[in-house]
């Protein structure tokens, strides 16, 4: 938990239905979990999302209060359709966003994470990216950041506490 919470960032991207998605407006008044990742990532991205999805299955009340926003930082490979399909493996309600490289860099900077870097040549490049989940309370403040390696029990505990924060 962060002692002096920082405000939720403002940025606009495009969701998997092709609609404009104003992050601050769309998630207003809700516990929001923001994660930057990419679909070719087999290791930590699915684990984060799967852990959150498991908590939601166990705690439907928490799920109702929470918006999960996954931003793909790999627009060249991750089409909106592919992002939707990827997220549906975890939870059909997870929001998937994409944008131009400039828009994505701006979103990451606004959220206080170092913009992802593409490394390597051809189709097999890998993406260096911030591996943490950023949690904003219903009060639009960033109360916690989750690096990779959070236990499932911590997610259950923390999401219940975060969901109690009033807007």
């Amino acid at each position: 938990m962060i002692e002096e919470p920082t405000p939720k960032p403002s940025f606009t991207l495009t969701d998997t239905d092709g609609r404009t998605y104003d992050f601050a407006a769309e998630t207003e008044g809700k516990l929001t979990l923001l994660y930057f990742g990419y679909l070719n990532c087999p290791d930590i991205c699915p684990v984060h999302l799967a852990q959150i999805a498991e908590v939601f299955e166990r705690e439907p009340d928490v799920a109702r209060e929470t918006e999960v926003v996954f931003v793909s930082v790999d627009p060249d490979r991750d089409s909106p359709e592919a992002i939707r399909e990827f997220l549906d493996n975890f939870d059909g309600d997870f929001v998937g966003l994409t944008g131009t490289r400039d828009e994505l860099d701006a979103a990451q900077t606004a959220a206080g994470v170092p913009p992802a870097v593409l490394e390597g040549e051809g189709d097999d490049y890998t993406v260096e990216h911030a591996g943490w989940v950023i949690a904003y309370g219903a009060d639009a403040l960033n109360h916690a950041i989750y690096p990779f390696g959070v236990r499932q029990s911590e997610w259950v505990n923390d999401l219940q506490i975060l969901a109690e924060i009033e807007g």
């Binding site: 990532c41 087999p42 852990q51 890998t126 690096p147 390696g149």
Partner: protein, 151 residues
């Protein structure tokens, strides 16, 4: 410290469930692959070298993927995650090495659809022990984490 504790925890899990495969002094256990949500999947396992020679995982093959690579995810001081191919994974004598999320994994590139509960045949290629056939269990992605696995 955390790594040591995890290593011991994994070892005890391995002892409880028994090792799945062994060959030339290598005990390979807890072989699992996260059900893929995207084009790639990650395979994890634990290996203990009870032989009298250091060994090294140099590759792997499986029919369910176009290609297999050994990868390591590392975290920078600022929290940025970086995933890169590595040439191999060392298995020193009398040590247990865990491939786990956020560290080492065998990446199945261009993997076919795999559902939880399925089994996947994988051949692990070792420098000394040679080819070792193992069976990986397809588990939910969250269950690839050592913390949660086997509980």
């Amino acid at each position: 410290m955390r790594r040591t504790v995890l290593g011991l925890a994994l070892l005890s899990v391995a002892l409880l469930v028994g090792c799945q495969e062994s060959g030339r002094g290598l005990l390979v256990s807890d072989v699992r692959v996260g059900a893929p949500a995207g084009p790639n999947a990650a395979l994890y396992f634990t290996v203990t070298n009870r032989g009298d020679e250091p060994d090294r995982l140099v590759g792997a093959t499986t029919d369910v993927a176009e290609r297999v690579e050994i990868h390591e995810t590392t975290m920078d001081d600022d929290g940025t995650m970086r995933m890169q191919a590595v040439a191999g994974v060392d298995a020193p004598i009398n040590q247990t090495v865990a491939l786990e999320p956020g560290g080492l994994h065998v990446m199945l590139v261009g993997v076919e659809r795999l559902d939880e509960g399925e089994s996947v045949d994988v051949t692990l290629q070792w420098e000394v022990a040679g080819d070792l056939d193992v069976v990986a269990e397809v588990v939910a992605p969250a269950e690839t984490m050592a913390d949660d696995h086997g509980q």
